[in-house]
Symmetry: C2
Subunit: 199 residues, 2 copies
DNA sequence: CTTGCTTATTGTACAGCGTTCAGCTAAATT
DNA sequence: AATTTAGCTGAACGCTGTACAATAAGCAAG
């Protein structure tokens, strides 16, 4: 990985290795530790070499965000229990997000990912909501509620950036149970609830 | 506000003017535009002059975050309708957050504010939940759910950072209605089975 | 086998960031 | 009036993301 090279010599980088190493750096050094320079040095390469594979740092992070969502399990297309499937999808999303705590705040800062994986997930959710009887605006609203709730909770479960000061325990398990209960409330409201009249 | 000063001369800064100007800069130039250097030049002052009033940029932002929460209306202490009051508090928090979109992502990145205003709000919520019959762990969980939901929704209502690309309108009104419905679902779930009547 | 084109990579550099240190001087204190 | 305190400046450090021009490796064509 290390090599003193003169200009023109190749290092054999790949877009995939760049992204993968970026993920590694992120989990090891945190969000602040993910700098183009550090990533480059990790790859044994000059910083600007990365720009052959990534338009800029924002694009890199966007790709990272979407990559992570690839791990979310989506249920078999035509199940008999859309509500349960919905619960599974959200719970899976939640736990996937928990696996990459540093990224979570970024999802909210950018209002969710926009890549293909995110889009696919969004469509799966709409499909399940339709199977449960919700369409149109109501379905979009419900989806938004579920997404916000899930990402938001993952953000809260993330370990605090600094200050070990008087840190309340708040283990990931605690938050997970908390998440599951809140999710049930939401699903009950969304699917069963009393008339959601105009208001 | 503008003045070429020689070393030793004072500019008459105040912690309050610094914070207030920081808020202005934030709303005008966004989060990326809020730099110590820009803030300083706006105050007609060398960048490092700010460090007499603020420990560092993080502390500055922390103060900003907590300041905003001062505008949240909290209900009269001993109401007969804690559920309704809870709804009022959360809705008020939501609209206050909407007024400062640039700050919202930071709340999540830092897992909520930690200043006195945030603390007060948190205690008000616990008080209302207790009045509604929830104490102990259940109350803390419920509070967490409500906070996540509220901040998360505010984050989603925030206008996207860049890309006007095919942006769905998603007006603040839309999101507000959405928020209110989701909130009802949560409250219904939190406070035990039956639908929440009031509000 | 050579010629030429494309592209990955380097060195250098720029502008900007948060922050620290040392000095100066106006204001506050004694 | 003398002395301390504190607000402010100038300069600098190390860091960031990124643009530009030069170089050489790889590849396609003659």
């Amino acid at each position: 990985m290390a090599g003193p090279r003169t200009p023109g010599q190749r290092a054999g980088l790949t877009r995939d290795t760049v992204l993968k190493t970026a993920r590694d750096v992120l989990t090891e050094r945190g969000l602040d530790g993910l700098t183009m320079r550090h990533l480059a040095s990790r790859l044994g390469v000059a910083p600007n070499a990365l720009y052959s594979y990534v338009a800029n740092k924002t694009a890199l992070v966007d790709d990272l965000l979407d990559d992570v969502l690839a791990d979310v399990e989506t249920p078999a297309p035509d199940s008999a229990d859309p509500t349960g499937d919905l619960s599974v999808v959200m719970t899976s999303t939640f736990s996937v997000l928990l696996g990459h705590p540093d990224l979570v705040p970024l999802y909210l800062a950018r209002q969710g990912a926009r890549g293909p994986n995110a889009q696919r997930l969004g469509e799966v959710m709409l499909h399940l909501l339709a199977a449960a009887g919700l369409t149109g605006t109501a379905a979009h609203e419900a989806r938004r509620v579920l997404i916000v709730f899930t990402i938001g909770f993952a953000a809260l479960a993330t370990p605090a950036p600094v200050e070990p000061e008087a840190a309340p325990p708040l283990t990931a398990d605690d938050v997970s149970g908390n998440f599951r209960r809140g999710l049930q409330w939401l699903l009950a409201g969304i699917l069963g609830g009393p008339a959601v009249s105009g208001s």
